[in-house]
Amino acid sequence: MVRNILDVVDLSVEEINDLIKLACDIINDPKAYSEKCRGKKLATLFFEPSTRTRLSFEAAMYELGGNVLGFSEAQSSSASKGESVADTARVVSCYADIIAMRHPKEGAPRVAADNASIPVINAGDGGHNHPTQTLTDLLTIYREKGRLNDFTIGFCGDLKFGRTVHSLINALSRYTGIKIVLISPEELKLPSYVKKDVLMAKGIPYVQTTDLESVMPELDILYMTRVQKERFFNEEDYLRLKDSYILNMKKLENAKKDLCILHPLPRVNEISKEIDNDPRACYFKQVLNGKYIRMALMLTLLEEAAR
């Protein structure tokens, strides 16, 4: 059965837990998985550049023993000749076994999934969804905290356009004992529909503040985000807000000793480099976890497709 992952909520909590368990197994014994995808091909269809996500998918497939083909920007694909996403998906289905697709337009991976005959993984569609980032975040939290429940997590920075924030909040809302602290300037607050449809609908306790330092002692996890230039229509707004929150050692003075600092990367200046060597900085471990969870996801989808 061909299955697509377009949104993290396409996966049940049990399926996410199974993926995390599989990723941990891969981490513990990578050799046992090094031939699992021998003869399989991943197509990375990146209609906009995203070096990290693409390399993560490609490294994941190579470590499973498979191969990779694809393109890294629309200009080097048939899209530049006007080919539709639907046709590209049909054509690539003849060459590959699984697709990882990034596209600047929201919903493009759904169009691909509707037309492909092989599994499609959304590797990010505009400001909409990026499920493998959320799975990466969940795996990192699990590995750092040993659980996916009973903690207080602060989201800081751009909570309005930050799709990773919306998606992680949505995913965590299915676990118990989660408290959420939303830290952002007024202009970049979490959209009211996320508060209404997720936090309020599921009774998740949350507070909103503009002051990071005042809430720092409460946090078990701090999820920092970048104010993304590409999400703004107006450059003036971007320039005004881009330096809203910069995390440095002084701001961490009152933080818990076992705080876990996450960031989906790339970082610009919102986390001072002096923090990189602090044991609480987990954002580079997150990158590594991203490869393992993508290995687990591709392996699972390919096994399901073969059944």
Partner: protein, 140 residues
């Protein structure tokens, strides 16, 4: 005010007062060949005030579009001057090519051949979201 009854055609009745213009636009009635009569703010024993649209021919009408604008409306098919049958209307679970996604970042803005599909995600509050980008449609 009196509008002559029709011999063969369609009467869309029990439209909430003030909504007939929305339906007129969504059903594309400005492009049809037959006569179209719109009655607005008609006194109704059941509704207080209502709108009615009469079409002087049995042309295909998009029942989903009617259900989207006003699920309380009824569609009456008239043959030889008498009521032939009545069609009750429901809020459709999916809307296809009735409304357009307004999100400039949606894939439907660049791939024009794609159907414009909206899914009913909250019946109580009548929330429709684009199937592709999940942007909420503005309520009609």
């Amino acid at each position: 005010m009196k509008i002559d009854s029709i011999q063969n055609g369609i009467v869309i009745d029990h439209i909430s007062a003030g909504r007939a213009m929305d339906l007129y636009e969504l059903l594309g009635l400005k492009n049809v060949d037959c006569s179209v009569a719109m009655l607005m703010n008609v006194t109704s024993s059941k509704m207080g005030k209502k709108d009615i649209i009469k079409l002087d021919a049995d042309i295909p009408v998009d029942l989903d579009a009617i259900g989207y604008v006003d699920p309380g409306a009824t569609v009456n098919y008239i043959k030889n001057g008498v009521l032939d049958h009545k069609q009750s209307i429901r809020m459709p679970k999916m809307l296809k090519n009735v409304i357009k996604c307004k999100n400039p970042r949606c894939i439907t803005t660049v791939e024009q051949e794609l159907d414009q599909v909206f899914k009913l995600t909250d019946e109580e509050h009548k929330v429709y979201r684009c199937l592709y980008c999940e942007t909420q449609a503005e309520n009609k």
